[in-house]
Structure formats: structure tokens, C-alpha cells
Amino acid sequence: MRVAVAEDGALFREGLVMLLRAAGHHVIGWAADGDQLVTLLSTQPADVAILDIRMPPEPDGGLITAQRLRAAHPELGLLFLSHYAESHYLMRILEIGTESIGYRLKEKVGSVDVLTDTLRLIQGGAIDLVRHLLSCNDQPSIKIAE
């Protein structure tokens, strides 16, 4: 699978690239921010892009970048990584798309098998989200914007 990575933390980015390569994926390139990723993917095709939610352009460059990528490359799978599992981000991710999309905690992709399973699901068009965010409370909250 052809994978592109965008993550502003160098240590995590390097670890992810090594793990992807160990899993047998072809890492077409990596970037430290969303703009670099958009440039990279404009010249090199990929099957899935892995994006840190909280990276430049701040404050949530991963989401902004994903919107641009979904418009430019509708077939590109998107895997969002974050330190925090937040319903707020889940909703924003679902606004970007409900196909070929995933949302995982960063440490939860720390195995070759899990990473590969997640990428395969996304490449196959599925949606793979942080599970505990999908459980509903007995009394759901309501948000109203003025």
C-alpha cells in the first residue's frame, strides 16, 4: 500500500515511517505540516494519508488539510491520529467524509498488525473510528450554535 505521513513531531513521524516500512507498505513521503503533505500528494499518488490532527497550520491542521485532500483526491483514504479521543473531532471528521476514513489514538497504531488492519479497512472504503466515542450515553447532550 502507498502511504503518505504528515506529523509535526519528528520522533513519532520517524517511528511511524519505520513501522509502516516494516509492515511492507511503501511510504511515498512524509511531511511536518499539512501544506507540505498537499504538495507531496499533488505529484505522488498514495492510497492512504496518515495525518496528525494537531499540526500546522494550527490549531487543527490535520482536519483542514484533510478537507483539501478529500476535494483534490476523493479516492485517497484518510487516517487521523491524535493524543486525545474527542467527540468534537469525530464530528468534524464525519463532516469530511464517511468513507475510507479512520480516527485512532496515536499509541493504538503501535503494532504492525493493527496498523495494517486499520489501513486495509480504510483503503477498502470502510470507516474505522475510536470505539469508545461511538458508545452513546443514556442522556445525549445537545449542542446549539447561535
Binding site: G9, F12, K143
Partner: protein, 210 residues
């Protein structure tokens, strides 16, 4: 000799000026936000990177060395637990979502996690670290004090010139101190209206903001 007293002529207890106290309170919210960011960008990111390295070692470990594989799995699980603890600490310092997305999303998230029914009316406007931190923790503590099965609380956040106006409808008026403890150190004021029953009060705070 009398301990704890000062017999020097003219000695009096020092009280910092009110403005200095407010500035100090404002600074502590900025400091809390900074510490939360340091946790996120420093320790948490390093530990997350370590889990990936361990995953790589786990992949490379010979299949016949089951004990080594098991040990690496345990180490990864331990690091996951450490990250959970860091998230908990970060949330108590200054919730990352409050920092990144503001009061509306952060309040919605905390209410959802507590399983408290809440209606939030806000415009997405930002008010600065201190006012947002004070308002967030005031509302979170009010929600935490609700009895099980309580009716929905309505939270309205808006700006009036240079003040954040926070109104909480449908809470026990006796919990006004939870809001006052957060608002007053920043120079804020708090009003309370008793309802016709225990959980029908209204608490309104005006908090100076950016």
C-alpha cells in the same frame, strides 16, 4: 517571647494590591495551559513514539522467543497506561480541547463524558485562557454536582464588551460558590437566582476577558 507575632513598630500584614492578585490569577491560567501544551508536545509525544519503536521490536522479535514478545507487549501496555495518566493530568490542568477549540466544544465534551444532559448556547467566540479556564471549570464542577437523573442544564456563553457572560440555568443555587470561586479571583462578579425547586436556580457570572 511570643512566637508568631512581630513587635516591630508599625508592622502590618502585607496584602498585595487587588490588581496584582488578579494579574497573578490570570497568569496561573496561562501557566496551566502552557504546562498542558508541554505535556502534549513533550512527554506524551515521546512516549507515543516509544510505543511505535516497541511495536517495531515486537515485529522483529523471533517467533520462537515468546517470552520476549510477551515482555514487549507488556511494556507497550504500560506505556498506554502512562499516556492515559498524562491525559488525565492534562485535562485537570487545562483541557486540550478547551485550548484548541474553545468553551463550546470543551463543555459539550465534558458534559458528554459525565453523562450529564446539557444544552450549550455559544457562538464559538474566544475569550482568552483565563476567562475560558475559569468558566470551563465552574461549569464542569456544577455539572459534577448534579444529582443522578437531573434535568438538562442550559449553559449560555456570550460576550458583553470586555466580559465573558456565563449563565447556567437549571442548577442548585447553593452551588453558586463553585462559580464564585473561579470568577471572583479574576475580578468577576456572580449573581444567583433561586428557583422554585432545588435544581431550578440560575447562576450568572461576568468574567473579565480578552
Amino acid at each position: 517571647m511570643v512566637f508568631g507575632s512581630d513587635h516591630r513598630a508599625g508592622a502590618r500584614p502585607y496584602k498585595p494590591p487587588v490588581d496584582a492578585c488578579r494579574l497573578q490569577e490570570k497568569d496561573q491560567w496561562v501557566c496551566r495551559r502552557l504546562l498542558q501544551r508541554q505535556l502534549h508536545d513533550g512527554a506524551a509525544l515521546r512516549i507515543s513514539a516509544l510505543t511505535l519503536r516497541l511495536g517495531l521490536f515486537r515485529h522483529d522479535a523471533p517467533p520462537e522467543q515468546a517470552a520476549l514478545q510477551s515482555c514487549l507487549d507488556e511494556l507497550q501496555n504500560e506505556l498506554h497506561a502512562v499516556l492515559e495518566e498524562l491525559r488525565d493530568v492534562a485535562g485537570k490542568l487545562y483541557p486540550p480541547l478547551l485550548d484548541q477549540a474553545g468553551l463550546g466544544p470543551a463543555l459539550w465534551e465534558v458534559a458528554d463524558r459525565m453523562g450529564r444532559p446539557v444544552v450549550i448556547v455559544e457562538s464559538g467566540e474566544r475569550f482568552g485562557a483565563a476567562a475560558e479556564g475559569a468558566a470551563y471549570f465552574a461549569v464542569a464542577e456544577c455539572l459534577a454536582s448534579l444529582p443522578a437523573g437531573a434535568r438538562a442544564v442550559e449553559v449560555v456563553v456570550r460576550r458583553e464588551t470586555d466580559e465573558l457572560m456565563l449563565s447556567i440555568f437549571g442548577v442548585d443555587a447553593r452551588h453558586v460558590h463553585l462559580v464564585d470561586d473561579r470568577a471572583r479571583p479574576l475580578g468577576g462578579t456572580v449573581d444567583v437566582v433561586d428557583g422554585n425547586r432545588a435544581s431550578a436556580g440560575t447562576i450568572t457570572a461576568r468574567i473579565p476577558c480578552e
